[in-house]
């Protein structure tokens, strides 16, 4: 084996075909559900803008609940598809277990949909204790339990998948430290610039998601016990900590998982390698801890939370932006600068994702400072920053990766549908995020089915932006449904 090449795992052609089908199933599911969730979002904005009087508060909060949990779950399943696709090239992964998680996920989704649209559950994805059990008769205990059990099931599926990843990474690299490049970082081993970035990413995601899901499972079980045995009253602040730790880790890990597409594909489009370095290892090692420690910025307005937890939350929320701003985003721009890159839609989307991630981080960091949080917490500022992240950061990575799988020769001019889709989607998403942020800075609360008269114009502008997003994403989805099922496995381009 020459030092300059990574030795990849060998699979039979049949295994590779099976794996590709499984990845495509994850992505197609992702596209269809994202599209539905975006429609739900547009409906909510239109309802707040008094453009859709037929959406009453009950239905609004049901849509809001499904929108929140659906987007997080779909982000997790689609980003897992991306990371699994690349990770299996370096470690021996089981396609059966990959499918198993997929089907458990779908089962959980069906249960959750039933709890919301049949049982009327509308306790938001946050399921803050004790709201699921106290609905004033709007939904039953059974509906609340259905929601919690559905989530628990989905978590279990992911835990099984991560056990397979853990086994595979350990059998190839011996320890998670090796996989993260720690011996190289600390000078115990010579630097290997060809240590796969995806293995580092995969190990980080595995560690944080495992702990995140474990915390979520504890919260879910505690609340299930409380639903049927109300004598058992957990501490509300403790449960809130567990829930936000869980939710924050899961959605962030989805971003970090998808970034493997940027590391793997941008080098192919620019012909320049993305080499690992000590800075790279240090950034990802720091992220393992930071991603888990920043969630307290959701709890600053719970004044009894110990002061030191809040300070740690503020310090690390800012800190967790640094590895991105200095390593991933900056590195991506350096790869592109004077590279002679052919701008296909996939490449455009991957660069857009770097912009969205970095730019979305700015309002996030502001919100994570207590001084700002005092007057921005739970206003539309918060959806503003995570729609920025998700619509302009995470989804462009998923889109960019999917278009890569189309396997269309790079020099081919992108079809008009893709160009139109790109500009409608990106323009709409930017407008939508900015309207949310501006609404938040004007004090408009989040999660209000009905808006005061003064706020209606913001919601109407938001609805227009949402329509642009839906239209752009619809064009991409149609194209995905036509092209992706038949697309052959892409052959990686040479990188020097």
């Amino acid at each position: 084996m020459s030092k300059a090449t990574v030795d990849k795992i060998h699979y039979s052609d049949a295994e590779n075909r099976g794996a590709l089908i499984a990845v495509k199933a994850h992505l197609i599911t992702g596209f269809l559900v994202f599209l539905l969730m975006m429609l739900g979002g547009a409906v909510m904005r239109a309802a707040q803008g008094a453009l859709m009087p037929s959406v009453g508060a009950d239905l609004f909060y049901q849509i809001m609940t499904v929108h929140g949990v659906g987007v997080v779950g779909t982000s997790a399943i689609a980003s897992t598809g991306i990371l699994w696709y690349f990770l299996r090239q370096y470690v021996q992964l089981s396609t059966k277990i990959f499918w198993l998680n997929f089907f458990i996920f779908l089962t959980g989704v069906v249960i959750i949909l039933g709890s919301i649209f049949l049982g009327g559950y509308a306790g938001a994805w946050t399921f803050l204790y004790p709201l699921p059990g106290i609905s004033l008769g709007v939904w039953s205990t059974g509906a609340a339990a259905g929601f919690l059990i559905g989530l628990l099931l989905i978590g279990t599926g992911f835990l099984i998948l991560y056990l397979d990843w853990g086994r595979a990474i350990l059998s190839r690299y011996g320890s998670f430290g090796q996989a993260l490049g720690l011996p190289q970082l600390f000078g115990k081993e010579p630097l290997n610039p060809y240590h796969p970035t995806t293995v580092v990413v995969g190990t980080m995601v595995l560690i944080v998601d495992f702990l995140g899901i474990a915390a979520g499972a504890v919260a879910l079980v505690i609340m299930l016990i409380n639903l049927y045995n109300p004598e058992f009253k957990p501490d509300a602040l403790l449960v809130k900590n567990l829930i936000y730790f869980f939710g924050h880790v899961i959605i962030n890990a989805a971003m970090y998982a998808s970034v493997s597409a940027v590391y793997e594909l941008l080098p192919q489009y620019t012909g320049r390698p993305y080499k690992t370095s000590k800075v790279f290892y240090a950034a990802w090692f720091a992220i393992v801890f930071m991603v888990m420690a920043v969630y307290p910025h959701h709890l600053y307005m719970d004044f009894p939370l110990p002061k030191w937890i809040m300070i740690v939350g503020q310090v690390l929320s800012y800190g967790s932006g640094i590895p991105l701003m200095v390593v991933t985003g900056y590195g991506a721009l350096m790869l592109v600068y004077r590279s002679g890159i052919q701008w296909n839609t996939s490449a455009k989307l991957l660069i857009l994702s770097m912009f969205g991630w970095a730019a979305g981080g700015i309002p996030a960091v502001l919100d994570s400072m207590i001084t700002f949080n005092k007057v921005l917490h739970n206003t539309l500022w918060v959806p503003g920053h995570f729609h920025f992240y998700l619509l302009l950061g995470l989804l462009p990575m998923i889109l960019g990766f999917t278009l890569y799988l189309f396997n269309i020769p790079q020099e081919k001019e992108p079809p008009l549908v893709e160009k139109l889709g790109f500009y409608s989607y990106a323009g709409g998403a930017l407008l939508l995020s900015l309207v949310f942020l501006n609404s938040g800075s004007n004090g408009i609360p989040r999660r209000w089915a009905v808006h005061l008269d003064e706020w209606i114009p913001y919601a109407q502008l938001g609805a227009v932006a949402a329509v642009l997003v839906v239209f752009g994403f619809l064009l991409f989805t149609v194209r995905v449904l036509i092209v992706l099922p038949k697309a052959a496995e892409p052959v990686p381009a040479a990188v020097h």
Binding site: K240, Y337, R338, I341, L366, L376, S441
Partner: protein, 175 residues
């Protein structure tokens, strides 16, 4: 504070668009990576140091003094105006609905059922102060009003299907 957050975000986003525009407009020509990578790695180092300095500065400015009121202090001895607040699905109960300006008001906020968010809005619908209402806890929010008027209390934590109807009133008078 809110408009500061908005303008900082807007200016930063526009600057980032500028950076991306610069790189993208310089992407079509092909140049050997090694001919500029050293120089741009150097810039990266400086950028890193800038972010660290900004980090430390922001922490010092925003955490000293600590921006949240002490929860252990016994405010009733100090002659502050004290209002006991409790949130319910879906209304607010307050021990008094009138306060005067220029003298600290201590809101002792709890809940009779689920989590709520106690958000104080002035006549221009600007959010001036907030705290969560959490089961089993009494959160102390201290705020000194400087403008008289009819303030509104809006719920800022989702608490069920009439969450948006949970609006209370507070009269702030000249002293």
């Amino acid at each position: 504070m809110q408009s500061a957050a908005w303008y900082i975000t807007l200016i930063s986003v526009i600057s980032l668009i500028g950076v991306f525009y610069f790189v993208i407009s310089n992407s079509k020509v092909k140049e050997e990576y090694s001919s500029f990578s050293k120089a741009w790695y150097g810039v990266r180092g400086k950028w890193f140091i800038f972010l660290i300095i900004l980090w430390v500065t922001l922490l010092i400015i925003t955490l000293k003094p600590f921006p949240l009121p002490s929860q252990t202090e016994n405010y009733s001895d100090k002659g502050d105006q004290i209002i006991d607040v409790s949130g319910h699905q879906w209304y607010w109960v307050m021990s008094s609905d009138t306060v005067v300006i220029d003298k600290p008001v201590v809101f002792q906020v709890t809940t009779g059922d689920v989590n709520h968010g106690f958000g104080v809005y002035n006549e221009k619908l600007e959010l001036v102060a907030q705290v969560q209402a959490m089961p089993g806890y009494t959160n102390k929010l201290v705020y000194t009003f400087t403008q008289p008027g009819k303030y509104r209390i809006l719920c800022l934590e989702y608490c069920g299907v009439a969450h948006h109807g949970m609006i209370g009133e507070l009269n702030v008078k000249e002293s």
